[in-house]
Symmetry: C2
């Protein structure tokens, strides 16, 4: 019996993709071996690899002047690679501190270039993103780093700020769930393990004109230009994770692509926010409505005892992993691309019944 899995990541994947991969698992297309046992330079893997790359660009509607990289180390390694590749002694990186992930990007980046906080939401508890006029840019800013969606606090940028400085976006938790204004970005990165596949691969898009000026005084793995010029085959890539990402992207294509998922996410999120807002204060969202995430819907109940009961009632109906992050408590429903509408409907139904019974 398959559960509705509201985990914040790793998280639910399309069950159709799991079944397909299961079929091919031991013997890949009659090759007499699994895909995992093939050289990353083999024709069969090359097709998988290039296919996933092409689809990452087509599904996410990426302009031709961007390269896509498949890397290990997750988005966390990108916290190092972004300043290592982009900053020079004369430039600095501005960062939006919008919560747990923004803070990590700043702390990590500070070891590899001059970085500063261009805006922080710490003062009001990370309940919103900055308005464009809130962001304070310093001279010689090479990029402004933004976290498009903060998984823990349940906030997102409804629109990205156009301040005349290129954006670098960590999109781990709303990757390919929304169209983005590519003209504003130099780099977009994120781990695959929420919307796009299993853990084990980061997907980074870098503007080609930027690659001409990235830092070469680095070990090869840390260099964007090395990965770009080798089509992410400089060393053995995380083959299986890339294969699964390719399958998830095909699944997205078959279901209408980015636009369809963006609309579906908006619809799923609206159902939950309506259940919260229409509860006469029984359920409360701490987030400024204009900045509410479409991926991670966080809410509170009147007290912690009720929250505990709610989580138990959900589990009894096969809805699991709804507990809020340990740093903030409460309830968090993560409704990534692969969460079926039926899962959200079941949760809304429970919210109504639980409140009536409380």
């Amino acid at each position: 019996m398959r559960k509705f899995n509201f985990s914040a990541g790793p998280c639910t994947l399309p069950v159709e993709v799991l079944h397909e991969a299961e079929q091919e698992f031991v013997d890949y297309h009659g090759a007499g071996m699994s895909l995992m046992e093939m050289s990353h330079r083999s024709a069969a893997y090359d097709e998988v690899h290039r296919g996933a790359m092409d689809r990452a660009k087509s599904v996410f509607e990426v302009p031709d002047d961007f390269e896509v990289l498949f890397l290990g180390g997750g988005a966390t390694l990108q916290f190092a690679m972004v300043p290592l590749n982009l900053l020079t002694p004369d430039t600095r990186g501005g960062y939006v501190d919008s919560g747990a992930w923004g803070k990590k990007a700043i702390a990590d980046g500070s070891h590899h270039g001059e970085v500063y906080v261009a805006w922080s939401g710490a003062g009001d508890g990370y309940v919103r993103m900055p308005r464009p006029e809130d962001v304070r840019l310093e001279p010689d800013t090479r990029y402004l780093h933004v976290t498009s969606n903060e998984t823990i606090h349940g906030i997102r940028f409804p629109e990205f700020p156009d301040l005349g400085v290129p954006l670098v976006g960590d999109m781990s938790s709303d990757y390919m769930s929304r169209a983005i204004p590519w003209e504003l970005f130099d780099v977009v990165y994120g781990g695959a393990q929420k919307n796009l596949g299993p853990a084990g691969v980061d997907i980074t898009f870098v503007r080609r004109s930027v690659l001409e000026h990235t830092n070469r005084e680095l070990a090869s793995y840390l260099r964007y230009d090395v990965h770009a010029s080798s089509a992410s085959l400089h060393n053995t890539p995380p083959v299986f994770a890339i294969y699964m990402v390719g399958k998830v992207l095909t699944w997205m294509e078959q279901r209408g692509g980015l636009g369809a998922f963006e609309a579906e996410s908006a619809k799923k999120a609206a159902m939950l926010y309506e259940a919260i807002d229409g509860s006469d204060g029984f359920y409360r969202s701490p987030v400024d409505p204009a900045y509410r995430s479409h991926m991670n819907i966080v809410f509170r109940l009147p007290d912690e005892a009720l929250e505990k009961q709610f989580l138990a009632a959900a589990a009894a109906r096969d809805m699991v992993n709804l507990k809020g992050h340990r740093s903030v408590g409460g309830v968090r429903a993560s409704i990534y691309n692969a969460m079926p509408l039926a899962g959200v409907e079941a949760l809304v139904e429970l919210m109504g019944e639980f409140r009536a019974d409380a």
Copy 2:
């Protein structure tokens, strides 16, 4: 029909492990979801993660004063992390240039500390490793970096040099196929994708006393101490690759552990070297006999046309991926832990018959 897959990596895995993982693939132990869909902080994944760590240490007979890390980026990222973590402005890293992989470690390391070549096999075409007395150490050498087995050239260290300087070993291509003298090493690392599982995870062992003095002025992902103190859960690890490594290690345990595999590798390699040496010069090994690899057996035939015919004859008997690396040509039989004895027997049989017919 399963083939005998002599690929140099990624490469053959134990078919028993593939079947087991296939069974658990869509629904992990009745959880209502796959392992890939679970949080890396879940109890079920924690058991997998800790189990793989414990087994990596027990199977490889690792002393208690080493930590094991599971990292992304492959051994290639370690080419950066080793000097980043270990070198200071007052110390330098010595490197043995024993072929393609040693050279990459040096080139990458040179960007992150002072490194030098302590011995090079380039002059005689990488047909052997250095004797201890060949290695020229400079003052203030923090470590001597060695590649235990050079996949492309088919050479290995039969014994590791004890020169009073700690060793750092890249063991990607003979990982856990042999016991090593741990007292000589500060760091041992390698990608899993040859002896230990699918691509996507590097396994690094670091001596605990070394961790007290590693560089802290780095982004978190680049710090050995951060991964050690978080049990490699600082960020989302490559879950599926680690799960598979755990299964391969269990498979090794069930078959007698490291000693059994070391003996089996010696036996399989000896069968092939005997077939080469007993062929009256039809097959030729370019490698100094004292340094011949037990993992990658490289050999030549009288001419390239015969080599091409040999590879075709092998493929006709379902023995594949025997072509030597593009940089050296010839034939290469990679016989990692999961290559069954029957595969080696079939290859030896072909070698005899092909020679008789030629």
